[in-house]
């Protein structure tokens, strides 16, 4: 589904990603872990298409298409979803209006008829249950005045509404208490299917107790330096990242 080959990315001339290789197939959950400032969020932003990131080398192929040829919105319409670490507040735009516009533009792109008001409301009520979102929240402006937990629940609610094929959840667990974490993780698990894939970016093992990955990658110094089964996350939790750094430095020397 997603194939990243030798991806080099710079921000204002500074190289952040230095040759990332990653392949994700339908039905898989991948975790990308690593210390701060190693390029995890950059990877998510490049896949989303955010301005200011220069791809200097390499490719991102998604469902056989070169992602770099697609606009931000077309990537979303092709089924890519980014769950943000810090979702932006948009005063005055209600969640309902926001989601209806998004859903209908995606449907139009795919040659489907727009949903009418009743169909949309029915869908929204159904999907709200995924993250136990209350009526009150969905009538409010997007993320305005939401707590950290509400913002993340709203992200997963949007994911449920848009039914993406590839979801990238960037530090979805940051700032969540244990109840919110459980709700968010349950939401993600409910949405899992053999046809879609999820990339979970996180610092901590904690989230992976709930969302169990098939593969764990460690991103360090702009590269994926280690890949392993879900037990790798537990090892990282126990031993920290220093041994990864040492291994990496040694490999570099030899």
């Amino acid at each position: 589904m997603l194939k990243i080959e030798n991806l080099h990315v710079s921000i204002k001339g500074r190289e952040i990603l230095k040759g990332v290789n990653l392949e994700v197939n339908a039905g898989e959950v991948h975790a990308i872990m690593g210390p701060n400032g190693t390029g995890k969020s950059t990877l998510a932003s490049v896949i989303a298409g955010k301005d200011g990131y220069d791809v200097t080398e390499g490719n991102i192929i998604y469902k056989g298409k070169n992602l770099m040829d697609l606009s931000i919105e077309d990537r979303a319409r092709e089924g890519i979803f980014i769950g943000f670490q810090y979702p932006v507040e948009i005063p005055g735009v209600s969640i309902a209006n926001f989601m209806r516009t998004a859903l209908n533009e995606i449907r139009q792109y795919r040659g489907l008829d727009p949903l009418n008001g009743a169909q949309f409301l029915k869908l929204m009520n159904e999907k709200k249950k995924v993250v136990e979102l209350t009526e009150k929240l969905s009538n409010r402006s997007v993320n305005e005045g939401f707590s950290g937990g509400e913002k993340k629940r709203n992200e997963i609610f949007q994911m449920a509404m848009l039914e993406p094929t590839l979801s990238i959840l960037d530090e979805t667990d940051s700032g969540l208490d244990i109840d919110a974490l459980r709700i968010v993780a349950n939401g993600v698990n409910q949405l899992k299917s053999p046809d879609n894939a999820t990339i979970v970016i996180t610092h901590y093992q904690r989230l992976l107790d709930y969302i169990v990955p098939d593969v764990v990658h460690v991103l360090f110094d702009g590269k994926i330096v280690k890949t392993g089964p879900k037990e790798l996350a537990l090892e990282l939790e126990k031993r920290g990242y220093d041994w990864i750094k040492e291994e990496y430095e040694q490999r570099k020397l030899s």
Partner: protein, 412 residues
């Protein structure tokens, strides 16, 4: 665009209309089709009050409403003191011209302790084949513990160039409440000056919300006099201008005594070559301690040529006050645009969503639900380019995108 003072010199280029037949059967032209508003219509045609039955209506609850000219004749005891007070004020060219030349206007008297259940709606239509000057004067009195919601629609047809010069005097007694909503739907060749003087007594509350949808040149002047303690004024405004339109909002709030509050929030979106200005002036007099005064002006410029002059201005002579002012001029929030686009919303739609959200904040400060919904919808369609002026007014029944008013009511 010429400066404000230039316009007074243009007055002579326009003709002042003689009184039409005051008993015109004009109901069908003065129907507002906005559903569920249940408003009481006060029609003004080219500045004259017209009604098929009566010039001045006395309601059971003691409210008197209708023509100002008729009120001066029939109930001078309710009007004269207010007119005299206005006569004593400093004037500029246009307000002075209004004082000597006004033909008619609306008079509303709400007696003490009366809460008027339905909103009153002034619909001021200007419709003429000549280049017409319309000078209107309104007097609104809200008594002690009384309440009124007032809507004013300024509309014009596409026939001639018109110069509308309105002066409104508002007198709020102790603990009176007035909500005053204005929509400005004028043709591109029209000039509209509306000067409002507000005099507030103890614990009175005044809310003004003016939404400018379309006009050649609009100038909204509001002077609020907070004359007794614990009076409060909330002033909101939204201007959506494009092409070569121009809109000015000039606010002056005088905190003449302690413990009063004033709040201003004005927002604008300027497209094409349009220009707008905001001049918000708050004066806190030396003994006006414990004043709360806040003013904010936010603007979005959509083109390089569009222009905004913004001047929030506090003049403070007391020392125990809370005051703030701020102005922003900018484009849409890039982070918000990015967020919307990552959900599959195209850039154009995303911009429209954000613009609507920006503008719609002003529509939220309307207490009449039907009017609020209507204004939100109009703002949405104005931003979509589907509508420039209110299409629920008989005046503007649109046909093939052109405005047609098949019968010239002045010829009836």
């Amino acid at each position: 665009m010429k400066p404000f003072d230039e316009y007074s010199k243009q007055l002579k280029n326009y003709t002042l209309q003689q009184q039409p037949d005051p008993y015109l059967p004009v109901e069908e032209y003065f129907t507002c089709q906005v559903a569920n508003m249940g408003s009481v219509m006060l029609p003004l045609l080219n500045g004259w009050y017209v009604h098929k039955d009566s010039h001045l209506t006395r309601y059971e609850n003691g409210v008197v409403a209708g023509s100002l000219k008729a009120a001066i004749q029939e109930c001078p005891e309710l009007v004269d003191a207010h007119l005299n007070q206005l006569a004593a004020e400093d004037k500029d060219d246009l307000t002075a011209s209004n004082e000597t030349q006004y033909t008619d206007g609306i008079f509303i008297y709400v007696p003490d302790n009366v809460k008027v259940p339905q909103p009153f709606q002034i619909v001021s239509l200007v419709n003429s084949r000549e280049d017409l000057l319309v000078q209107t004067r309104n007097i609104i009195h809200v008594g002690r513990n009384a309440e009124l919601s007032l809507i004013q629609c300024d509309d014009s047809s596409k026939y001639g160039k018109t110069f509308l010069n309105i002066f409104t005097g508002i007198f709020l007694e102790e603990n009176a409440r007035l909500h005053y909503y204005k929509t400005e739907n004028k043709e591109a060749e029209s000039l509209l000056f509306h000067h409002i003087n507000v005099y507030q007594k103890r614990y009175s509350f005044f809310l003004s919300n003016a939404i400018t949808f379309n006009a050649g040149y609009v100038c909204n002047n509001i002077h609020v006099n907070l004359n007794e303690p614990f009076a409060e004024a909330q002033l909101y405004g939204l201007y959506l201008v494009d092409k070569t339109q121009h809109c000015d909002n000039r606010i002056k709030v005088l905190h003449n005594c302690p413990d009063c509050k004033s709040f201003q929030l004005y927002k604008g979106i300027m497209d094409d070559d349009a220009e707008a200005s905001f001049h918000g002036h708050v004066v806190v007099q030396p003994d006006a301690q414990r004043t709360n005064a806040f003013q904010t002006n936010r603007n979005i410029l959509l083109t390089d040529k569009a222009k905004i002059n913004t001047q929030p201005f506090l003049e403070i002579y007391a020392d125990d006050v809370q005051c703030s002012h701020g102005a922003t001029v900018g484009q849409l929030d890039d982070e918000a645009l990015y967020y919307l686009r990552t959900r599959g919303i195209g850039e154009r739609s995303a911009r429209k969503l954000l613009m609507f959200a920006f503008a719609n904040e002003i529509c939220q400060h309307v207490d009449i639900q039907a009017l609020k919904d209507r204004l939100s919808d109009m703002v949405q369609r104005r931003l979509d380019g589907e509508l420039t002026i209110c299409d629920q007014c008989m005046m503007h029944n649109a046909d093939n995108g052109h405005l047609i008013f098949p019968i010239d009511p002045t010829k009836l």
